[in-house]
Each structure stands twice: as C-alpha cells, then as structure tokens.
Symmetry: C2
Subunit: 159 residues, 2 copies
C-alpha cells in the first residue's frame, strides 16, 4: 500500500517538473532576442571589446539594426555626427553613458535618445546579454567617429 | 489505502497546476508589451475600428511610437506622404496589407517597410492582441492621408 503512495508522490514530482520545464520553455522563447541575433559583428569588431552580433532589420528608407552584446561586451566611446541614434532595449541588461555623466543602467523596455555630437558608449552588463534596436536618425553626410575603449577600470566600477 | 493513492494523485494534480501557473506567470511577463501599452489612442480613434493604445517612445529627433491593438482592431486604409513608416512587431499577431495585394500575416520579430505614397492598413488578428513599434521616417512636409475603413467583409475573409 505504501508503494502506491510513493507512486502517487513520484507522479506528483514528475508533474511538477513537467509544469516547470513547460514554463521554462515558454519563458525561454521570450528571453530570446525578439528580432534575432544575426551574425557576429565582424566589420565593427575593432570598435568593440568582446563579441557583438548584428542583424540589419531594414536599410530601405533608413538604417534600423538589432545589436546583441555578450556579457561585458561594449563599444568604444564614439560620436554620431549629423544625426544621432535611438536605442530600444528589447532584452537583457546593459549601460549607456555620455562623457562626463554617470552611466545609465538599461533593461528591457528602456529607450535612449542619443543626440548627435555627443560622446558616449553602450554595452552589456557584467552578467547579462544585452540587446537593443538601434535606429539611425537620417541626416545628410552623417558619420560616426570612433574613439578610445571603455577601459576595464572604468567598466569594472559600474554598479 | 485507496484514499492514500487518491491523496497522492491530488498532490500530483496540484503540483501540475502550480507548475503550469508558474510557467504562465513567467511567460505572461514576456507576452506583455516590451515597451508598455500607454494610453487609449483617443486622438486617432476616428481612423481606427476598435480600441488601440499609443505610447510615444521618443519625439526628440524623430517620432517613434509603440502601438497596441486589441483583437480585431485595425486602422483605416491610409497613405504616408513624404516619408514612410517602419513597423517592428514586438508582441501578438496581426496583419499588414497594401492596396491590391494579399494581406501579410505578422508575428513577433517581423519587420515591415512601408514606403511613402503606398495605400495600406495594419492591425490585430481576430483572436490576438498585436503590438508594433512604428518608426516614422523623417521627411520635410510629411503627412498622413486617412482613407476608408477596412470593412468587416474584407477583414473577416483574412486567414
């Protein structure tokens, strides 16, 4: 008779596992990047510390790109000349910092308006992947000026 | 003794429910709109069938808006003059249709490039909420021309 109780409990535990694994799978599909990871961002690798991935969403009327950073990955300080950029954070957590200001911690749903002619960087936090859509504000003769790395010393101080 | 088996099975079923409810809660937080629902879209209600919700994400350098449609909600046929629009689907499922073409079914992660001077509509599917970011391609003297409703007859035919 005891064995039947044990069977009942085992069935219960299996059901619990199935339920939670089902839940994990459901939430797992959400934590994947909404717009896809794309390819290793080889062309801009020299301006990044760590690996980033680039998926162009459209370049037909203007440039909209999905950028994914592995944990600790960040781009160098840089300046958009002409038109700025708008970041829409879709997954993970990271930072945006303008020169001379405190870094702003970013999470899913946050929006960053980067004005032109503003020295800044963005990237992942230490323990999380980070994904944002980058909308390039159109301008005539726009360009990006890439500057120095965000040093480990600066980065490691971030909370 | 049978009662112990029943207790075991009841425990199992409760565990199953707890597991799935846990999973639902976890996935529920993901299926919420990434950028927030915002307010009932009162100003444009006359150009929509059903309720939509509008959350401006930025208007500083250009207009980027999050638009949420309740099931069956869609906007009228309309034309963007000057600059078009780019849609980034973040949640749910819906449609995009250009005049004279088949409707395109949309889901999370899809991107739509709407050229200027193109008669079209977009909205939710019958049984799902639908959310997209709308990026307004900047132009000088851009405007939107609102046209006739998407009739129930047209809409109900969609697969």
């Amino acid at each position: 008779m005891k064995s039947r109780v044990i069977v009942g409990i085992v069935v219960g535990v299996i059901c619990l596992l199935v339920g939670f694994i089902g839940g994990k799978i459901m939430s797992g599909t959400c934590s994947n990047s909404t717009f896809g990871k794309g390819e290793l961002n080889v062309n801009y690798a020299k301006y990044f510390k760590g690996n980033s991935y680039l998926k162009p969403l459209t370049t037909e009327q203007m440039g909209v790109f999905n950028v994914t950073f592995e944990p600790k990955c960040r781009n160098n300080w840089h300046i958009h000349h002409g038109g700025g950029q708008i970041l829409l954070v879709t997954d993970g957590s990271g930072y945006y910092q303008e020169w001379g200001k405190e870094a702003r911690k970013l999470k899913k749903g946050d929006v960053v308006n980067i004005p032109p002619e503003t020295k800044h960087w963005h990237g992942a936090s230490k323990d999380s992947w980070f994904t944002h859509v980058a909308i390039e504000v159109p301008s005539t003769n726009g360009s990006t000026e890439w500057l120095e790395e965000v040093s480990d010393e600066e980065y490691d101080k971030l909370k």
